[in-house]
Amino acid sequence: MAVISYRQALHDTLRAELARDPAVFLIGEEIGVFEGSYKITAGLLAEFGPDRVRDTPISEEGFVGAAIGAAMLGLRPVVEIMTLNFTLLAINQIVNHAAKMHAMFGGQVSVPMVIRTPGGGGQQLAATHSQNIEVWYAHVPGLKVVAPSTPADAKALLAAAIRDDDPVIVLENLALYNTKGEVPDGEQVAEIGRAAVIKPGRDLTVVAYSRASVIALDVARQLEDDGVSIEVIDLRSLRPLDRDTICASVRKTSRAVVLEDDWLSYGVGAEIAATIQEGAFDFLDAPVRRVAAAEIPLPYAKPLERAALPDAGALAKVIREVLDATRFAR
């Protein structure tokens, strides 16, 4: 088992999948000669050639459409869209075509396409380049949306996405690319739709995904010193959503807080809260609380950007409020 970065795990997995299956090819802006805006595809053009690693013009709707066509005819395209924000230029192709083909053609075709794209704020890229609109895609039946939070999951979920016969959006995160972690050697393919209990606990469940899972784990470890036992669930997949793991945890802890980088209203946390009240209502000792981004276009100024994004302090405060409201005794 090697300790490598999230970025390296993505790169290594793309390389391994290109080598494993000749139907796999990469397509996107600046991924070949320039080796990717975030260098995930470094060296792959040289190794696999321009048929397998295709640079495109700045034309998201065009190259996503091309990938859908290729997928329908048996290839396995892995599209890189420079950031999640730019998927909006291709949203008609993604939502109206990729997500619908299999059902509307009566199962005669499928669209085994992957869209890799990083979301997230915190890099001072301002309002139009810092969004967490993954929930837009998680809303749509026919799509799958996975969100790895660790290098190991980046490897296992990307491999699973490439081998899946449905269109899968792999949500990466700018703040995670340089994070490091242990990654098991050899072939690792995750089961899409299975959440992970990344820290077991007794007193309160924190549900998170992507960057927020990393924060949640930190906060849980800090609170451990204060005698609070937090269970942290990393969703890993937003669609399908592993409702059973969430509800089983809350049935044990009776308290739940969601940490999400997206906006509060209509966000992932809203879906989790609804899931909990449907599946664990009789076990709740306090309302489910959500810690999310401020409902504003994300500011450019560093102090304002920091204030608008949820952080460890905000999560710890809400956890304490829930514990206090239920007379939690250490």
Binding site: D282, L284, D285, A286, R320, A325, T326, R327, F328
Partner: protein, 414 residues
């Protein structure tokens, strides 16, 4: 509408006493206005409004003890101000007529008193499985919500407490029992509810009982010390300043501790913590408890600075206005009961500190000096030591040097 909840004002706070409302029902409030004074573990702190509007409802009477997170007031737009009484009447007794078991009302259903029972789903489920009537339980969650802890407490007292006895023998008529209890209680004993300070004092001193103590007593010739104090006060009189024996002791302990870092330490569970800075606490008696304001860096402050600071801290302590940082973080404590005429006593260590010095009164005692019997003022000093941190010889060396310092008081100030 904005709920005002009992805030967590310190890390150790579990509940607060609402000592005074500074706004009345119906008063307009702005962000930052002080709504109430809240007595926490040890200090009285101000509760500020975070919202703007009209204080529509005050839900807690003055003097009430309220767990953190509980609803204590509502700030609204003023339209609901007249709807509710300022402070709710005492909750009605559970409607349990003789021979007719009380039935649990559906949650959310208005009860006879016109209020709704608020309960968490989990609390309701547990209450149902134990056959407990939710109407008999007082909720301690936000807005009086019944939470799991409330039901579990009720279930525990029903199983092991008086309820079990009552089930075994025919219950007395409720009226009779209450009257008998009241008559008994009022005749001989008075029950005094614990104040927050009394409760925390009790808890802290009980913690101290876990430390294995040993005691060392020494006697000093206080003549030079008292003479020094008289002389110092003559000089300071023009400036309106005054130095007490306690102030001299604080400074003497502080300068002596410099040479005895092991004594300026605390018990850390799996380690001993040596403190580089010397913060000396001075025990101050309150009407309803004890508090130890701390003079920070006492070895680096002049006698006059210590005297002035000690006076201000003691006044603030008696007024209940000490800020948390003014009574925490001490590394050694001095407790002086000399002014009460106590000759000698042992003090209870203020955990997690390693030692405390108990100081008795200066009394005229016969001593033999150069073969002659003479009367000399003496003071008895008793050091209480946590044996987990310090051994006898180490503590004895400190007490010896402290005695030397006090008997040559110029060493206190140079």
């Amino acid at each position: 509408m904005a709920d005002v909840l009992m805030p967590r004002l310190s890390d150790t706070m579990a509940e607060g006493v609402l000592s005074h409302w500074l706004k009345k029902q119906g008063d307009p409030v702005r962000k930052g206005d002080v709504l109430a004074e809240i007595e926490t573990d040890k200090a009285t702190m101000e509760l500020e409004a975070y919202d703007e509007g009209v204080l529509e409802r005050l839900l807690v009477p003055e003097g009430a003890t309220v767990p953190i997170g509980q609803l204590i007031a509502v700030i609204g737009d003023g339209h609901h101000a007249a709807a509710a009484p300022a402070v709710p009447p005492a909750p009605a007794p559970p409607p349990a007529g003789p021979g007719k078991p009380a039935t649990a009302p559906e949650p959310g259903t208005p009860t006879a008193a016109g209020t709704q029972i608020r309960t968490s789903p989990l609390a309701r489920k547990i209450a149902h499985s134990h056959g407990i009537d939710l109407a008999t339980i007082t909720g301690t969650g936000p807005g009086g919500r019944i939470v799991r802890a409330d039901v579990e407490a009720a279930a525990a007292s029903a199983e092991g407490g008086p309820a079990a006895v009552a089930a075994a023998s025919p219950p007395p008529e409720p009226g009779q029992a209450a009257a008998a209890a009241a008559a008994d209680g009022q005749a001989d004993d008075e029950e005094v509810p614990l104040t927050a300070v009394r409760r925390i004092t009790a808890r802290r001193l009980t913690e101290s009982a876990a430390a294995p103590h040993f005691y060392l007593t020494g006697v000093i010739d206080a003549g030079p010390l008292l003479a020094f104090r008289a002389e110092a006060n003559d000089r300071l009189a023009a400036a309106g300043a005054k130095v007490s024996v306690t102030d001299l002791l604080v400074r003497a302990c502080a300068v002596t501790l410099r040479g005895h870092p092991q004594v300026n330490s605390s018990w850390g569970g799996d380690k001993i913590i040596l403190h580089r800075r010397i913060h000396v606490g001075v025990a101050v008696a309150l009407d309803d408890g004890l508090i130890v304001p701390v003079i920070r860096d006492a070895d680096r402050k002049s006698l006059r600075e210590i005297a002035a600071e000690a006076r201000v801290l003691a006044e603030r302590a008696r007024a209940g206005k000490l800020a948390p940082q003014e009574f925490t973080g001490g590394t050694f404590t001095v407790s002086n009961l000399g002014m009460f005429g106590v000759d000698h006593f042992t003090a209870v260590i203020n955990p997690p500190e390693a030692a405390i010095l108990a100081v008795g009164a200066a009394t005229e005692e016969p001593v033999i000096r150069d073969g002659q019997l003479a009367g000399r003022p003496t003071i008895k000093l008793t050091l209480s030591i946590d044996h987990r941190v310090l051994d006898g010889a180490t503590a004895a060396a400190f007490l010896r040097d402290l005695k030397d310092t006090l008997q040559e008081p110029l060493r206190i100030v140079i």
